[in-house]
């Protein structure tokens, strides 16, 4: 694992892996959309609105999955001080924030026809909103310092503190009385969902996962190049100062 944490080696690996993850994302999402709109039936209670589930539920899973990855990267940065972990965290946070925003927006659009309201301050919805603010806080904090390394460390501490919200979101529907329905797929017994609905749900979830990997690879590459550029500008600036200094002294 340490071998691939070298930025140069990572760049080569990322360039090779990216087309595959991007292709798989497009394939899974195209198949998922076909199943979601054409091959899956309407729900006997929710009717056609059940189709919102195929984008809302995978977005919610990704919001939690990305945050867990962010917390792992934060732990690696703080314990082993590996610079690539900081860049990975910076790259992942906006992607996670987008998935969380999608989860909240599509949830509201599903809530209005089903519950009669866009929003209620129940445990599940509120804890997901807190997750969205944690992502925004991470992004703001990581960019709040002149020295990006200090910003990365401060944001990593926030990410680790905020990871306590992940089990709260997961179990909020069991611990509190909420309007939100309980888990129907990630139950210990058989999933309470028919195969005709499970297939598009899983295809969309795989599509979102490959999308996350593809976009994160692009963003980590961007972060590595930005650091190289910064180092180059710093060394150029230092050499210009060094070259200018003797002239200034002689003048």
């Amino acid at each position: 694992m340490q071998r691939f944490a070298n930025p140069g080696r990572f760049l080569r690996l990322a360039r090779a892996v990216y087309p595959w993850t991007a292709g798989l994302a497009v394939l899974c999402l195209a198949a998922g959309l076909w199943f979601a709109f054409v091959a899956s039936p309407p729900d006997y209670q929710m009717g056609e609105t059940v189709r919102i589930m195929y984008v809302h539920v995978p977005a919610a899973w990704m919001a939690l999955f990305v945050y867990t990855n962010l917390a792992v990267a934060a732990a690696v940065l703080l314990v082993w001080k590996h610079p690539l972990a900081e860049l990975a965290g910076r790259a992942m946070a906006p992607v996670g924030a987008c998935f969380t925003a999608l989860c909240l927006i599509t949830g509201s659009l599903w809530g209005q026809p089903m519950w009669g309201t866009f929003w209620v301050w129940d445990a599940r919805l509120t804890s997901v909103l807190v997750l969205f603010f944690l992502y925004l806080g991470y992004i703001a904090l990581s960019n709040a310092f002149d020295d990006p390394t200090r910003g990365g460390k401060a944001a990593a501490i926030l990410a680790l503190v905020g990871v306590v919200n992940v089990p709260i979101i997961k179990f909020s529907v069991d611990w509190w009385n909420t309007l939100h329905q309980p888990a129907s797929l990630t139950r210990l017994d058989a999933p309470a969902i028919h195969a005709s609905m499970l297939v598009p749900l899983l295809l969309m979830a795989f599509g979102f996962t490959f999308y996350f990997v593809a976009v994160t690879l692009i963003r980590i590459r961007t972060e590595i190049l930005a650091r190289r550029l910064r180092a180059l500008q710093f060394s150029q600036g230092a050499s210009e100062v060094a070259a200018a200094s003797p002239r200034q002294v002689s003048a």
Binding site: G47, V55, C98, L102, T106, T222, L225, L229, L232, Q236
Partner: protein, 50 residues
């Protein structure tokens, strides 16, 4: 698909498409921008060292 709630369904997928495609394009654009910037900085490097 038509029905009394079709607006909510299309809005959900529309927002998802805009967010996901927008983020992908913005990330690609940022990468291309950084690559071009780095190329320019590296091209300028020998001149400053001379």
């Amino acid at each position: 698909m038509s029905g009394e709630h079709s607006l909510f369904i299309w809005l959900s997928y529309g927002v998802a498409a805009i967010v996901l495609v927008g983020l992908w394009l913005a990330s690609q654009r940022a990468l291309k921008g950084r690559e071009a910037e780095l190329e320019r900085a590296e091209a300028a490097l020998p001149r400053t060292r001379r």
